[in-house]
């Protein structure tokens, strides 16, 4: 125990003496949490619309003004030629083309139906999808408006109409920040937990002090605990700062128990620290450790369910998310923060994370050798 005390004392001294580490641990999370949630936005706004109107009728103008009245669309230009509009798309000045045929009004009145053509710039998939869907909604809305104008006193509605009203459970206003902020916080805690620890150990390899430790009677478990504990504490500090920012800046108060989050985070940090240790035993320089960490982080983030829903991934990708610790923490954060889950509800997540912790640390301890 005494040896461990000396190791910890030395580690904390070094950490608090190094301004760059302090910046990474305290300043970066604060700035990222204050800035990123505003930018990492799921909502699509300001879709640039190009209208090709061959009709120039009352109805066509009504439709266009209805579309542009919504906050989602910006009328980029209003022309009479599809070619001109397509040219705008090619120059990336327009995202959507709505073509209104010449006989739009006439057909609508005479034949009771009319066709519109919509072309979507699908280079930005998300924007194209959502833009198309919004536009369809507005046109449908306009359609029913026209219908009510015509059928003044219907004894029976000529067509049955099913209307859907929805309510968003757990996040009534569909505020994306409620699930973005906890997600970003998870990523930050992961980075502090695993990669800073890995870099710290590899740095000792580089400057040769690890060899000096290896000729002392310090035991393997003492050395590893001496590295784990400081970064475990730092991870929990970052989490606390993050929760505070979430509350103060975004008004996010966990619906469930804060205790459940901390219990899970404590075990989660052990797991990612084990991963960091493992990285450090298989790398010799800080560059190598950085590169490996960087690639792992990419996988962690993209297959973690932060930006894309895991349920809509293909089967094989869903399997990968099962071995991604980050996906469990993001899940737990959303369950506890939004749904109000308790310790009992996240029992399975806890058990799996405990398994991760044992696996990574066990592997790291086995592959760390005091002599070669």
């Amino acid at each position: 125990m005494r040896t461990l005390r000396f190791l910890l004392q030395k580690e904390f001294r070094q950490i608090f003496r190094e301004p760059s580490i302090l910046r990474v641990i305290f300043v970066m999370p604060i700035i990222q949490l204050l800035v990123l949630p505003w930018a990492a936005d799921y909502e699509v706004k300001d879709i640039k619309l190009s209208v090709v109107d061959h009709d120039h009728s009352d109805y066509s103008r009504q439709l266009v003004s209805k579309i542009t009245a919504s906050a989602y669309f910006q009328l980029q230009d209003y022309t009479g030629s599809y070619q001109t509009a397509l040219h705008e798309v090619e120059k990336d000045k327009a995202d959507l083309i709505l073509e209104i045929p010449a006989s739009f009004e006439k057909q609508l009145i005479k034949e009771d139906k009319a066709t519109l053509f919509m072309a979507v710039n699908a280079i930005n998939g998300v924007k194209a999808n959502l833009g198309g869907a919004y536009l369809r909604n507005i046109v449908q809305d306009y359609n029913s408006q026209v219908r009510t104008e015509w059928i003044q006193f219907p004894r029976f509605s000529p067509e049955t109409n099913i209307e859907i009203t929805s309510s968003n459970w757990f996040n009534p206003l569909m505020n994306y920040k409620y699930f973005m902020v906890p997600g970003i916080l998870v990523i930050l805690v992961t980075m502090v937990g695993s990669f800073l620890a890995a870099l710290n150990i590899v740095k000792e390899k580089e400057i040769g002090t690890i060899e000096q430790i290896n000729v002392t009677p310090v035991k393997k478990y003492q050395f590893i605990l001496g590295k784990l504990i400081p970064f475990w504490v730092l991870g929990l500090i970052v989490l606390s700062i993050g929760m505070l920012i979430a509350r103060v800046a975004y008004g996010i108060v966990p619906a469930g128990s804060l205790f459940a989050i901390y219990v899970f985070a404590a075990i989660y940090l052990l797991a990612v620290l084990g991963l960091g240790l493992l990285v450090s035993t298989f790398t010799g320089t800080q560059q190598q450790a950085m590169l490996i960490s960087f690639f792992m982080m990419m996988v962690f983030i993209l297959l973690g369910g932060l930006y894309t829903s895991i349920d809509s991934m293909p089967q094989w990708a869903q399997l990968i998310t099962k071995i991604n610790p980050v996906s469990y923490f993001i899940d737990v954060m959303r369950m506890v923060v939004l749904k109000g889950s308790s310790l009992g509800d996240i029992r399975n997540h806890l058990l799996i994370m405990f398994g991760f912790a044992v696996f990574f640390n066990g592997w790291a301890v086995i592959s760390y050798h005091k002599r070669n």
Binding site: F6, R13, G208, T209, E211, Q212, P217, V218, R371
Partner: protein, 247 residues
């Protein structure tokens, strides 16, 4: 086993794949000796030293350090040795005092022992005014002297020094060797590698490694006589010329 022998090596060998870094070396080191370990770059000195200090597992052969077996009792050996590697290995971002306290602490020394001996050592090194300065800010010569003091702080039986005076000015080198003598007089056995032949003359006995083998082992006087040379420099050149291994 003879109690006087603090290090014994018998056919000690280390192979890395096809390459035999240390080729069946045998020697004994006696208590209180300053044992010089010479050889060209790449001759296998550091590898041999790493095996004896428990950092590297021998491929074959036998060796004991402080009466403990290098295969099975390497952790016991560590309690009884000090080690100063080629790379400077104190923490540059800790102060002089913090470094001493840390290394003494992990060897299990008591707070009282650490406190008293720290005062003594710093006075001895004339580093009292630098006690609370970061090691980073010290000149190289002082760093090396401090590293040596830290390596023997826990009063080991044997201290291994791997080119301790590399890059150090002649005056500091002289002071450093005075410290080595003091350590040897207090009963610590010193096992030292060096490239400086004048330093070799200060050693009680010298072994010269060529291509992983020990080609000569004797007192400096006897070696000069055997090789009919005026200085250790000449002895070394005569032996090292035979080397076939490049750097």
């Amino acid at each position: 086993m003879n109690n006087d022998k603090v290090i014994t090596a018998d056919q000690l060998t280390k192979r890395f794949g096809d390459f035999t870094a240390v080729d069946a070396i045998s020697f004994d080191v006696h208590k209180g000796e300053i044992f010089g370990f010479l050889g060209a770059n790449g001759a296998g000195k550091t590898t041999a030293m790493r095996m004896l200090s428990g950092l590297s597992l021998p491929t074959s052969g036998k060796a004991t350090v402080a009466g403990f077996d290098v295969y099975r009792q390497n952790e016991k050996i560590k309690q009884n040795i000090g080690y100063m590697s080629q790379k400077f290995s104190l923490y540059e971002d800790l102060t002089v005092k913090e470094n001493i306290r840390f290394y003494a602490g992990i060897y299990g020394k008591s707070d009282k022992f650490i406190k008293e001996k720290t005062v003594f050592i710093l006075k001895h090194l004339h580093l009292e005014s630098e006690t609370n300065k970061l090691v980073r800010s010290l000149p190289l010569g002082w760093k090396q002297k401090l590293a040596f003091s830290v390596a023997i702080f826990h009063e080991p039986q044997i201290v291994f020094l791997d080119e301790p005076t590399g890059g150090v000015d002649p005056v500091t080198r002289r002071e450093f060797w005075n410290m080595i003598y003091e350590a040897a007089e207090s009963g610590i056995t010193v096992f030292v590698t060096t490239h400086y032949m004048d330093e070799a003359e200060y050693c009680s006995r010298i072994s010269i490694m060529v291509d992983g083998r020990i080609d000569a082992l004797d007192t400096p006087q006897q070696l000069k006589k055997t090789f009919n040379a005026a200085s250790m420099d000449e002895v070394f050149l005569k032996l090292a010329r035979k080397a076939t291994r490049g750097e």
